[in-house]
C-alpha cells in the first residue's frame, strides 16, 4: 500500500513532540501512531463531563404470581410467596425496582434417591421420609418445598396416583410453606398422578409440575383450574415451544397469573449458555410486551449436580465439598441474572451463597464511598 507523504506532512504540522525511535511498523500502525501524536498536539485537558445514563422504559411487565394460600384464601399455608412483577431486567435497580427477590424451593423425593455426597450429608436421616425431609428443608430456610413423586414411574415403583396423593397430604401437613408437586416425568402416568394430587391439595394453591407438550397438558391444566393451583409450563430449551405451550394453556382459560414457565436448566459446563440465552430472550420479550411470555420463570437448578465437576471426588479438581455447592450456586446466579425467578435447589451451602449474592445485588445504590487504595495495598 502506498502512503501519501503530502498527507503525512500535513498531519505533522503543529505537532509539538515527535518520538519515532521505533519505526519498524506497518503503514497502518504508522498512521495510527501519527494521528495519536497529532491529537496529542491538540491540548491535553481534563474536562468535567457529565455521564447521562441510558435508561429503558419497558412497556411490558411480567405477571405477578402468588404461590400458596393462607386460611383467608381457603388454604392452610402460613404465608404466601410471590414471584414475578418485573419491570426491568434483574437487579437493574438504577432504572426500576423489581418487586420480589428470587425464591428457593428445596427438592424432596418420595423415595430414596441417589444424591451427590455434598448434598446427601445434609439429608442423610430423612431420605426415606418425605414429610421429615420437607421439614428439614424448611429448617434450612426453604421458601417452598417441591415434592417429586418419582416413585410413580412405572419403571420404578409404579406407586399409584392415590398412594402418591397421600405423600402430598403428608407433606402439606408437615410444613406450612407453599409447595410444588412434581410428577415422575412419565408422560402416560403423570396426568393421572398430578390430577389426583391437585385434588387432594385443593385450595392450597400449589404449583403443579408440569404441563408439557409431550403429555396430556389439558388434563393437568384443567385439574389445576378446578382445584385452584398454578401450572408449571415446561419446555426444553426452545423459546418457540415455550410460547406455543403457554398459548395453549392461556387458550384453555388459564391466566398469566396462574402460570410459571420452565424452559429447562442445563448445568454450568453442560449447556448453561443455552438456558441463559433462552431465559434472557424470554424476559426481554416479556418486557417488550409479548403476553405469551410474561410469566415468571423457574429453574431446575438441581441439574447442576449432574455435572461431574460438581459431584466427582477428584483430587485434581480440589475439594468437592466446596466445588459442588459453588457449581450449583453459580448456575443459579447466572440464570438469575438472565431472568429466572424461582430456583429449585438442593444444597444448603449453595443456597446460602446464592442468597448472599442476591442480597448484595439488591442493595440500594447509595453507599459509603469506595476506599480505592485498599485492594492494591492489601497484604
Amino acid at each position: 500500500m502506498k502512503f501519501d507523504l503530502t498527507k503525512l506532512d500535513e498531519l505533522l504540522k503543529g505537532a509539538e513532540e515527535l518520538e519515532l525511535e521505533n519505526v519498524d511498523m506497518s503503514v497502518g500502525e504508522l498512521e495510527l501512531a501519527l494521528s495519536a501524536m497529532v491529537s496529542a498536539a491538540k491540548r491535553a485537558e481534563y474536562r468535567d463531563l457529565s455521564f447521562e445514563a441510558l435508561l429503558m422504559d419497558f412497556p411490558g411487565r411480567v405477571a405477578e404470581v402468588e404461590l400458596g394460600a393462607t386460611k383467608a384464601n381457603g388454604g392452610t399455608r402460613k404465608n404466601v410467596v410471590r414471584v414475578g412483577g418485573e419491570k426491568t431486567l434483574p437487579f437493574y435497580n438504577f432504572e426500576a425496582q423489581n418487586p420480589y427477590r428470587p425464591v428457593i424451593a428445596y427438592d424432596v423425593f418420595d423415595m430414596k434417591v441417589h444424591l451427590a455426597g455434598p448434598v446427601r450429608k445434609h439429608f442423610e436421616e430423612v431420605l426415606e421420609d418425605p414429610a421429615e425431609w420437607a421439614k428439614l428443608c424448611v429448617k434450612y430456610g426453604a421458601d417452598l418445598v417441591t415434592v417429586h413423586l418419582i416413585s410413580t414411574d412405572p419403571t420404578l415403583k409404579d406407586t399409584s396416583a392415590r398412594e402418591a396423593a397421600k405423600t402430598v397430604e403428608d407433606v402439606l401437613q408437615a410444613v406450612k410453606v407453599p409447595i410444588i408437586i412434581g410428577g415422575s416425568g412419565n408422560p402416560e402416568k403423570d396426568p393421572e398422578v398430578l390430577e389426583k394430587a391437585a385434588e387432594v391439595a385443593e385450595g392450597e394453591r400449589c404449583v403443579i409440575s408440569s404441563a408439557s407438550l409431550n403429555l396430556d397438558y389439558k388434563r393437568v391444566a384443567r385439574a389445576c383450574m378446578k382445584h385452584g393451583h398454578v401450572v408449571l409450563s415446561w419446555t426444553q430449551l426452545d423459546i418457540n415451544d415455550q410460547r406455543t405451550l403457554n398459548k395453549h394453556l392461556l387458550g384453555l382459560g388459564m391466566k398469566k397469573e396462574d402460570l410459571i414457565m420452565d424452559p429447562t436448566t442445563a448445568a454450568l459446563g453442560y449447556g448453561l449458555e443455552y438456558s441463559f440465552s433462552i431465559m434472557e430472550r424470554i424476559r426481554l420479550a416479556a418486557l417488550k410486551g409479548d403476553g405469551d411470555l410474561q410469566m415468571p420463570v423457574s429453574s431446575g437448578t438441581t441439574n447442576a449436580w449432574g455435572a461431574r465437576e460438581a459431584w466427582m471426588d477428584a483430587r485434581e479438581w480440589g475439594d468437592r465439598e466446596k466445588r459442588g455447592p459453588l457449581w450449583e450456586a453459580v448456575t443459579a446466579l447466572t440464570l438469575c441474572l438472565a431472568g429466572s425467578d424461582l430456583f429449585m435447589m438442593m444444597s444448603p451451602t449453595a443456597v446460602g451463597l446464592f442468597k448472599d449474592t442476591v442480597e448484595s445485588l439488591s442493595r440500594p445504590r447509595e453507599v459509603e464511598p469506595l476506599d480505592i487504595g485498599n485492594w492494591i495495598s492489601m497484604r
Binding site: K2, G271, R281, W317, L326, L353
Partner: protein, 461 residues
C-alpha cells in the same frame, strides 16, 4: 456500531466488482460476512488499493465495534479484550472472552511469588476440546516503594510469558516498573482524576494500554476523555469494584456497556475491568467463596478482565467453565450429526455404546472414550440436540428410535455380538429396547467418566 448495520449499508462502499478474490461469490455476500465478523475488510484486495482508501476508512469506522478491542502484551503472549458489539449474546455473540489475571504483590517472599507465577504459567485445563487457561499476572505495589515494585516486576517478567498488569496509584511507582518491563506492553493500572496526565504520559511513552479508574460514572468518563485528549485510545475502564455492593457494580457495568454500544459514547467504548480480588472477609474460606460469586456476577454482566486473588482450583474451575459457556458462539448448532462413529479401531467384538446428538454430551463421551483408550462403536441417536436426561424426560430418546437407528446403520453387520451399552440415565428404556430390537441393553454408568471401569468390569463380547 451504534445502530444495527445491514449488508446493504456495507455494500454501498464495496468495490462492487464481484471479482471473488475475497473468496466470496459476490460483494454482497462479503458484506454479510463482514457483519457476522467472519471476514475482515483486509480480505478484499480491491479495497486495499489506494483508490479505495477513503471508502476503506469509512467502512472501518462503520464496522468498529462499540467496545474497542484492546491488546495487552506482545508477540505470542498477547491477550485481547473487548471488541464487543452486542448487549446480549444471542444478538450475535460475545467475542473476546473475559481475561483472568491472578494477583501477586511486591512484598511476597521470593518463593511464594515464584509459586504463584508458575501456577499461572502451568494452569491448563482441558474441557470439551478446549484448553482453558489463566491469562495475566497483576502485580500490586503493596510497599509503595518504586524500586521494590520494579524489582518484583522484573522477577515476574523473567519467569513468565503471560502479559502483566502493573497496579499502583502512584505514577512514580508505575514508571519504575515500566522502565524494566515497559517493552512487554503491560496494562497500566491506573490513571485517575488526579494522575491522568502523568500516567497518560507513561502510557504514551511506553505505548501501553492504560486503565481509567473512577468510582463515579461522570468522573470515569472525564478521565477516559482526558486520556483520549492525549491521543491514547487503548483504554480499559474500572468503574470501581465495590464488592460489598454488587448492585452498584452491576449498574455501572451495564450502563457503561449501554453507553458504548447503544449510544456510541467514545469515552466509554472500552473494555471493563472488575476486581473480585478486592473481596474483604475475615475468614479465608468464606472470602474465596464470595470472590467466586462476585467474579461470576461480573462475568455474566460484561466484565472483560478480572483480577482474582484465589488460586484454589475448586474456585477457579466454576469460573473458567462459566467463561467457556458464555463465550460459546450461540450460532453454533446444538446438535451433531446422528449415526455410527468409530472410536479407535473397533473390531467385530468391540463394545457398542449409545449416546445422544447433543453436542456437549457427544463431545464429552468421545473425549472420555478416547482418553480411556477404548476401541468401540458409538451410536449417536438424533434426540433433537437434547442430552440424555432431557431426552428421556421429553421422549426424544426411546426404544423405537434406538431400534430404528440400529437398523439404519446396519449395526448387526458391524459387530458379531448383540449387546449395546446405554447411558445410566436411560435405564428406563432398557426393557423396551430389548423387546423391540432383540439387542441386550447393558445399563452403563450415569456419567461417562465411569465408562472405562464399566467396560473393564462388565463387558465381554
Amino acid at each position: 456500531m451504534a445502530k444495527k448495520l445491514g449488508p446493504l449499508d456495507i455494500y454501498r462502499y464495496l468495490p462492487k466488482t464481484n471479482c471473488r478474490e475475497c473468496g466470496e461469490k459476490t460483494c454482497m455476500a462479503f458484506a454479510s460476512q463482514l457483519i457476522e465478523r467472519d471476514v475482515k475488510l483486509e480480505d478484499c484486495p480491491q479495497l486495499m488499493k489506494p483508490d479505495f482508501a477513503e471508502k476503506f476508512h469509512h467502512l472501518k469506522e462503520m464496522l468498529a465495534p462499540g467496545v474497542k478491542e484492546v491488546t495487552i502484551g506482545t508477540g505470542d503472549a498477547i491477550v485481547k479484550i473487548g471488541g464487543e458489539e452486542v448487549i446480549f449474546r444471542h444478538e450475535l455473540k460475545y467475542f473476546n472472552q473475559t481475561a483472568l489475571a491472578l494477583g501477586v504483590h511486591d512484598e511476597l517472599e521470593a518463593d511464594a511469588l515464584l509459586k504463584r507465577v508458575r501456577y499461572v504459567n502451568d494452569f491448563k485445563f482441558k474441557r470439551i476440546g478446549e484448553e482453558l487457561t489463566l491469562d495475566l499476572i497483576a502485580i500490586r505495589s503493596v510497599s509503595g516503594d518504586p524500586e521494590r515494585f520494579a524489582q518484583c516486576a522484573s522477577k515476574v517478567s523473567a519467569e513468565t510469558g503471560k502479559p502483566l498488569v502493573l497496579c499502583s496509584y502512584d505514577p512514580k511507582v508505575l514508571e519504575a516498573a515500566l522502565k524494566v518491563v515497559g517493552g512487554k506492553r503491560p496494562l497500566i493500572y491506573a490513571a485517575t482524576k488526579d494522575t491522568w496526565k502523568e500516567v497518560g504520559k507513561l502510557a504514551r511513552k511506553y505505548r501501553c494500554p492504560v486503565v481509567a479508574f473512577a468510582d463515579d460514572m461522570s468522573e470515569l468518563k472525564s478521565v477516559a476523555s482526558a486520556l483520549r485528549s492525549m491521543g491514547i485510545e487503548d483504554i480499559v475502564l474500572d468503574p470501581g469494584s465495590n464488592v460489598k455492593n454488587l448492585s452498584s457494580v452491576l449498574g455501572k457495568f451495564v450502563l457503561a456497556r449501554r453507553a458504548a454500544i447503544l449510544k456510541d459514547d467514545k469515552d466509554l467504548g472500552f473494555p471493563l475491568l472488575g476486581i473480585p480480588a478486592a473481596t474483604s472477609a475475615e475468614n479465608g474460606l468464606e472470602k474465596t467463596l464470595k470472590e467466586v460469586m462476585i467474579a461470576a456476577t461480573m462475568m455474566d454482566k460484561y466484565a472483560d478482565l478480572l483480577v482474582l486473588h484465589t488460586q484454589e482450583i475448586w474456585a477457579l474451575l466454576p469460573l473458567i467453565t462459566l467463561r467457556q459457556n458464555l463465550y460459546t458462539d450461540p450460532r453454533k448448532p446444538v446438535a451433531v450429526d446422528p449415526g455410527l462413529r468409530s472410536i479407535g479401531k473397533p473390531t467385530k467384538s468391540s463394545p457398542v455404546l449409545l449416546t445422544t446428538n447433543f453436542a456437549l454430551t457427544y463431545y464429552t463421551v468421545v473425549s472420555d472414550l478416547e482418553s480411556a483408550g477404548i476401541a468401540c462403536y458409538l451410536l449417536v441417536i438424533d434426540t433433537d440436540g437434547l442430552g440424555v436426561q432431557a431426552s428421556i424426560a421429553g421422549g426424544q430418546l426411546d426404544a423405537s428410535k434406538v431400534k430404528d437407528a440400529i437398523k439404519r446403520v446396519r449395526l448387526g453387520e458391524k459387530v458379531k455380538h448383540r449387546k449395546i451399552v446405554i447411558p445410566g440415565y436411560s435405564a428406563r428404556i432398557s426393557g423396551d429396547l430389548e423387546l423391540q430390537s432383540g439387542w441386550k441393553a447393558l445399563v452403563g454408568p450415569m456419567d461417562s467418566s465411569g465408562i472405562k471401569e464399566f467396560i473393564e468390569k462388565k463387558w465381554s463380547s
